[in-house]
């Protein structure tokens, strides 16, 4: 908790609550910067340097160090939080929602099926399993991320119906739609299943259609000024009818922080879905295009977890190798589809599709081509069958 003080900034006095003249001026600014950073407001060092001109040189020198220390603190805090992840929550009701047994867990949430007590309609409740007061920053992050999702209304984006805090627990509500996430679908196919509902394992056309829906949703969110920042199979919802939706939008600074954690870990396995420029902290629409391309490729080739297969483990051990690995995987799918996905995953952002809508158009064309091809092959097959039956 920073102690507020009277700040004299380039001759202008900013009056705040508790005046404490004993504090070092740079320390006061540093405390404000850290407070903003901890509230997930993504403060920029340059903005602070411009605002506090007399301290600009010190700010530029000292604040990167503060951020470095902050990362170390965040890693330690995340470790503690993981250890305190509860085995089960002793709650059966949150707000207007009657909870049913949990369906699954993520690194920071527990997901329940639930019934809305007034309408008796089924919903999905995603709960932050720690008391919100104990994890104020995580709660802030969740609040902001759900606020982003709540204002995005598109058929290709999972809507957030409600965001609440009850009994000290923070949670958000999404509609209950029959389906599974992309990671689960991949797991089923890699386990040997040939079909799930209307999606068959090698039905390239349906993957292209799902890709078109997702790219259109992405294009809409980019138009609304929002990057997804975390597209991967686990964050894609596939309904039984074969339509796909984007889930779990992330704040840029949080996605970047996770990437740093992955990168600074002893084993430098960085997610295959992350565009290479993200390593240098540069993200834009094209980074999302890369992630969507990689996700579609992994889903179509049913490549599950790279760390579970020995050959792929080697591929995932470093950045350059994982890039080559992705390009090699693209050889397993129809050429026209592979070309589009490879372009979306070009290492140089300038060589990718310039926008998600351009990517959507390319995928739509692929979908049409593949559907026609399937129809023609079915036509030939049926003609041969009828000719054979006439002979018999």
């Amino acid at each position: 908790m920073p102690e507020h003080a009277e700040l004299v900034l380039d001759g202008l006095s900013t009056v705040t609550t508790n005046v404490d003249r004993s504090r070092d001026a740079l320390e006061i600014i540093a405390s404000l910067f850290l407070e903003d950073h901890r509230r997930v407001l993504n403060p920029q060092i340059e903005d602070y340097a411009r605002l506090h001109r007399t301290q600009a040189a010190s700010i530029r020198k000292v604040f990167p160090v503060l951020l470095g220390l902050e990362r170390k603190r965040e890693i330690a805090t995340a470790r503690v939080r993981q250890e305190q992840f509860p085995h089960s929550l002793a709650i059966t009701r949150l707000g207007q929602y009657q909870l049913e047994p949990e369906t699954h867990r993520t690194a920071t949430t527990i997901v329940y099926r639930a019934i809305h007590t007034r309408s008796a309609g089924p919903v999905i409740v995603t709960v932050l399993p720690w008391k919100a007061a104990d994890v104020p920053r995580l709660r802030l992050q969740f609040e902001r991320e759900t606020a982003i999702a709540k204002r995005l209304l598109h058929p290709g984006i999972m809507p957030v119906l409600d965001v609440c805090c009850d009994d000290g627990y923070f949670f958000f509500v999404t509609p209950s739609i029959a389906g599974i996430d992309g990671a689960a679908l991949m797991a089923r196919f890699s386990a040997g299943a040939q079909r799930w509902r209307c999606i068959s394992r090698d039905d390239w056309a349906i993957y292209a259609q799902m890709g078109t829906q997702l790219a259109n949703a992405l294009s809409y969110s980019h138009e609304m000024g929002t990057l997804h920042n975390d597209i991967r199979p686990g964050n894609i919802f596939v309904s039984r009818s074969g339509s796909a939706r984007l889930l779990n939008f992330r704040l840029e600074q949080c996605a970047q922080a996770s990437l740093r954690q992955e990168f600074t870990n002893n084993a430098p396995v960085v997610s295959l879905y992350v565009a290479p420029e993200c390593l240098t902290g540069c993200r834009d629409e094209r980074s999302d295009v890369y992630s969507l391309g990689a996700t579609l490729l992994m889903m179509t080739t049913q490549t599950s977890d790279i760390a579970t297969t020995p050959g792929r483990q080697a591929a995932g051990t470093s950045w350059p190798r994982s890039g080559r690995f992705l390009r090699r995987e693209a050889n397993r799918i129809p050429r026209c589809f592979a070309q589009v996905l490879q372009k979306s995953m070009a290492a140089d952002p300038a060589k990718r599709f310039s926008s998600a809508s351009e990517f959507a158009t390319a995928l739509e064309n692929v979908g049409i081509t593949l559907t026609e091809r399937t129809r023609n092959s079915v036509g030939v097959r049926s003609r041969v069958r009828s000719w054979a039956s006439r002979l018999c």
Partner: protein, 185 residues
């Protein structure tokens, strides 16, 4: 509910604690639970960590705080949070003594082990100020109570350590790996 307690209500609860009211102590402990659990996670040595989780440690500290709450009245500190932190560290110390006779406790825990080159070059007090102010997120006032240095001294020393760190260039654990990115392309 706890987060909505104002300064006056907290003072009232502190008075009740001095009078020996266990419920008031429980309420105030719960109010500090988030901060204390963070400190516990940072201060637990690996030996203690292997023995018990942060939640169990906090439970033990909570019981100890209730048992010894009358000591708060005679404690030199005027901040209940600093006293609770003291109780927590004492609990860790007791457990540490019990479980780690052979390891030779250094007082350092897993998270602080890596940047030792720079951290070791700091004086004991500077190191403590950096840990208290930055990692435990204590205020200058609270750090001052613990270290016995004036709040102004804490403020100055904290910034001096950060400036030294900037000059020593021991800073950022994540820097773009240009070689990796180039090879990727």
């Amino acid at each position: 509910m706890l987060a909505s307690l104002n300064e006056q209500q907290i003072r009232q609860l502190e008075t009740q604690v001095v009078r020996g009211d266990g419920t008031a102590m429980e309420t105030l402990f719960d109010l500090s639970h988030g901060r204390l659990s963070r400190i516990a996670g940072l201060r637990m040595t690996d030996e203690v960590h292997r023995t018990m989780s942060v939640s169990h440690l906090l439970m033990a500290a909570r019981m100890r705080a209730i048992r010894r709450q009358t000591e708060f009245a005679v404690a030199a500190t005027r901040s209940l949070f600093v006293w609770l932190r003291h109780i927590l560290l004492h609990t860790i110390e007791v457990i540490q003594k019990r479980v780690a006779s052979e390891s030779g406790c250094t007082g350092w825990c897993h998270w602080a082990a890596t940047p030792s080159a720079f951290m070791k070059s700091l004086t004991e007090i500077d190191r403590e100020i950096l840990v208290l102010r930055h990692f435990e997120e204590l205020t200058n006032q609270e750090t001052s109570i613990i270290t016995g240095i004036s709040p102004q001294g804490v403020s100055t020393r904290y910034m001096n350590v950060i400036c030294e760190l900037a000059e020593a260039d021991h800073s950022v654990p994540f820097s773009p790996n240009s070689e990796g990115v180039a090879a990727y392309a």
